[in-house]
């Protein structure tokens, strides 16, 4: 009888539900995180991305070349977004990330086909993200076969059904071996910094208010700026150490190259650290306890991992998910890091990403400062 009392068990059960209901942040997380995961994994993530932005350099626009372009377009894998006139132009687009592919049709392509010289069409792919490129590349030969069936008439009739009278050469740029680690490792820096910087800052600030030490602190003549800077700078240094360790590991453990401008990287990662600290500061104005600060930080981490292009190709996500992804600082820092490390980008190549991070930072800082004023009282 006395071994298990249902009355006592019921009381504990009831108390637990009451407490669960009172802690709104935890309750929100329990409901919110699964819904968010469901929506993101179910709708936003696509490991076989289509509609990848593609440029074309047409040195010859005969019927066969046009048929190839048409076929690629109708396959849904490629979205032709424009024409380039030189190799440099195409390379720049790949490096900046404004296009994933550049299709190059060589001069006299049509004539060489007719002559049976088996000319080459070049498909330059940005393989820094192997997952984004592989599906489209794999689909290429099928696309070509169907596309050119109708145009192989007259003197070329005999080639129908046989392998096409020209070849496609795929040039995987920036990651010739298609190694996943080459793509993941630079992206990981964005995630690591985001995870630690946001959470540590939020928790460190909330700890002072939760423990009551903030009250004694602001009763002294200390100025808010002195407190904020004094509390945040140590974590900036932590970010430096993390980045340093990361770069060493990337180079010697994973053999990931670093071919771009060090200055560009340095400026970019400082900006990124600042935006994350600002975000942590913003969370600290919302959270009432260290526990809540942790939970909210974790809540922001989920879209950072899933929608930034870190785990899944950004281009493969539907429009709405890309819009959300654009508001996440990690999205831009991730691009910046990949460009600098893998594609050899310099400062001008990353100016767009820097601008995007700056805008996000401005918004976060404005909201955080407005909230900070309210919570001082």
């Amino acid at each position: 009888m006395n071994l298990f009392s249902f009355a006592r068990f019921g009381a504990v059960l009831f108390k637990e539900f009451v407490q669960m209901r009172r802690d709104r942040v935890t309750f929100g997380m329990m409901i919110g995180i699964p819904i968010m995961q469901l929506l993101l994994f179910g709708f936003a993530i696509n490991s076989d991305p289509k509609h990848l932005p593609t440029l074309v350099e047409m040195a010859d626009d005969g019927p066969i070349a046009r048929a190839v372009v048409m076929g690629m377009q109708t396959s849904d894998y490629f979205d032709f977004i424009g024409i380039v006139t030189s190799q440099q132009e195409g390379d720049r687009a790949l490096r900046e990330g404004s296009a994933n592919f550049v299709l190059v049709v060589p001069p006299n392509f049509e004539r060489d086909v007719v002559r049976g010289l088996n000319p080459d069409i070049l498909l330059s792919a940005d393989a820094s993200d192997p997952a984004a490129a592989s599906g489209a590349v794999a689909a290429m030969s099928g696309i070509i076969d169907t596309a050119i069936a109708d145009v192989l008439t007259g003197p070329l009739q005999y080639t129908a059904g046989a392998p096409p009278p020209f070849s496609i050469t795929v040039h995987r740029q920036y990651n010739a071996e298609g190694k996943t680690s080459t793509n993941i490792v630079p992206g990981l820096l964005a995630i690591i910094l985001s995870m630690t910087m946001v959470m540590i800052t939020a928790v460190a600030i909330v700890r002072e208010t939760e423990k009551g030490t903030m009250e004694a602190l602001i009763a002294t003549p200390v100025r808010p700026a002195e407190v904020m800077l004094g509390k945040i700078i140590p974590y900036v240094l932590v970010g430096y150490v993390q980045t340093f360790v990361f770069l060493i590991a990337a180079r010697f453990l994973f053999d990931v190259p670093f071919i771009g401008s060090r200055l560009a990287f340095f400026l970019g990662f400082n900006l990124y650290i600042i935006v994350n600290l600002a975000l942590g500061f913003l969370i600290s104005t919302v959270a009432k306890s260290q526990m809540q600060a942790m939970q909210i930080s974790f809540f922001t981490l989920l879209p950072t991992i899933l929608l930034s292009g870190f785990m899944f190709p950004f281009a493969g996500m539907p429009g709405w998910a890309q819009v959300i992804g654009t508001t996440i600082p990690a999205t831009h820092f991730l691009r910046l890091t990949r460009k600098v490390m893998l594609k050899g980008a310099a400062l001008p190549d990353i100016s767009g990403d820097m601008l995007a991070i700056s805008i996000i930072m401005l918004v976060v800082v404005v909201i955080a400062l407005r909230r900070y004023r309210q919570t001082l009282d």
Binding site: R22, R24, T213, E215, A216, L217, A219, P221, V222, D377
Partner: protein
């Protein structure tokens, strides 16, 4: 009347609202320099908020005033330089050592002879040999002494103590008050909020606040007269029985027991005198009129007070 220069604190019309709740409502107070000023009132009555407004931690929504000659609205920075504020909760860093905590506070005030000041504070506390112990490992009484030492480092002219002895044992409380009186004698003004009678009676002045409004204030001696209490001292056999009977009697507002003696008080002197006359006819107990003292006044004030939380203290 005291002049401006003799007042450590002079505020009038102080008002603070949190949302649509008025926590402090047109509060006036004058604290003479060098005085120990007791601040009484039930929980949630606005004592902490008032203290925070006086030292520049909160900006009042209405009213004005000066603290140590500095405007509380425009010169909080100067006020903070000269005020020592001891919070209700232990608010030093539990994960720093005793010495590190004191050193940190000294640096907040940019003190020049920091090292020697900290050393002296440690010696005064009797903690020199435990200076490298974490503050979080100290007992309640020691934490409170450390807190006081920390807010005395910069030699403040005014001490604001928010329920400094809550949860501290009686011996430590007495030691604490010895220290307060010593500071007061040295010219430091002390404003202290408290729930305890033995602390209230040590104050030179008393203010009583409820629901954010100041109800009574004045020199401690005059408080019973201000309330208008009449008190009779009653002695005799079976005192508990009489106590129960008197509690039900009209005209008796309060029966306080001190050992075998009852102090019977009321605000209506005539009604109480009639009760006394009636009781004296029985000749069972010895009834003696006495001057109402601060003890009776304190019990009277605290008995009429209920916790002033308009909204339940449950989040959400």
């Amino acid at each position: 009347m005291t002049t401006e220069a003799e007042l450590a604190i002079a505020v009038s019309g102080l008002t603070k609202r949190f949302g649509d709740r008025t926590v402090v409502d047109s509060f006036d107070m004058e604290v003479p320099k060098g005085a120990i000023y007791g601040f009484l009132g039930p929980n949630g009555s606005g004592k902490t908020t008032t203290i925070r407004m006086m030292c520049g931690l909160l900006i009042p929504d209405g009213g004005s005033g000066q603290c140590l000659g500095y405007d509380i609205l425009t010169e909080p920075q100067q006020i903070k330089e000269h005020v020592g504020y001891m919070t209700q909760r232990f608010s030093l860093y539990e994960d720093l050592t005793i010495r590190e905590n004191l050193d940190f506070m000294a640096r907040m005030y940019r003190m020049k002879d920091r090292r020697s000041k900290v050393q002296k504070a440690l010696a005064d506390l009797g903690l020199s040999d435990r200076a490298d112990q974490l503050a979080g490992t100290l007992s309640g009484g020691w934490k409170q002494r450390l807190s006081l030492a920390a807010c005395l480092l910069h030699d403040p002219q005014l001490l604001l103590l928010d329920e400094p002895t809550a949860g501290v044992d009686p011996k430590a409380r007495r030691d604490f008050w010895d220290e307060i009186r010593r500071l007061s004698a040295a010219g430091v003004t002390v404003l202290v909020s408290t729930h305890y009678m033995d602390e209230a009676i040590q104050c030179d002045y008393i203010a009583y606040i409820a629901y954010g409004k100041k109800l009574i204030s004045g020199p401690a001696r005059e408080i019973p007269r201000i309330i208008g209490l009449t008190t009779w001292r009653v002695e005799g056999p079976e005192i508990s029985k009489l106590e129960a009977e008197l509690r039900r009697t009209e005209g008796v507002d309060q029966v306080a027991r001190f050992g075998a003696v009852l102090h019977v008080s009321g605000t209506n002197a005539k009604a109480l005198d009639r009760v006394a006359a009636e009781q004296q006819k029985r000749k069972t107990h010895k009834w003696q009129k006495k001057d109402a003292e601060l003890e009776e006044a304190f019990i009277y004030l605290m008995a009429g007070a209920t916790d002033n939380f308009l909204t339940p203290a449950v989040p959400g």
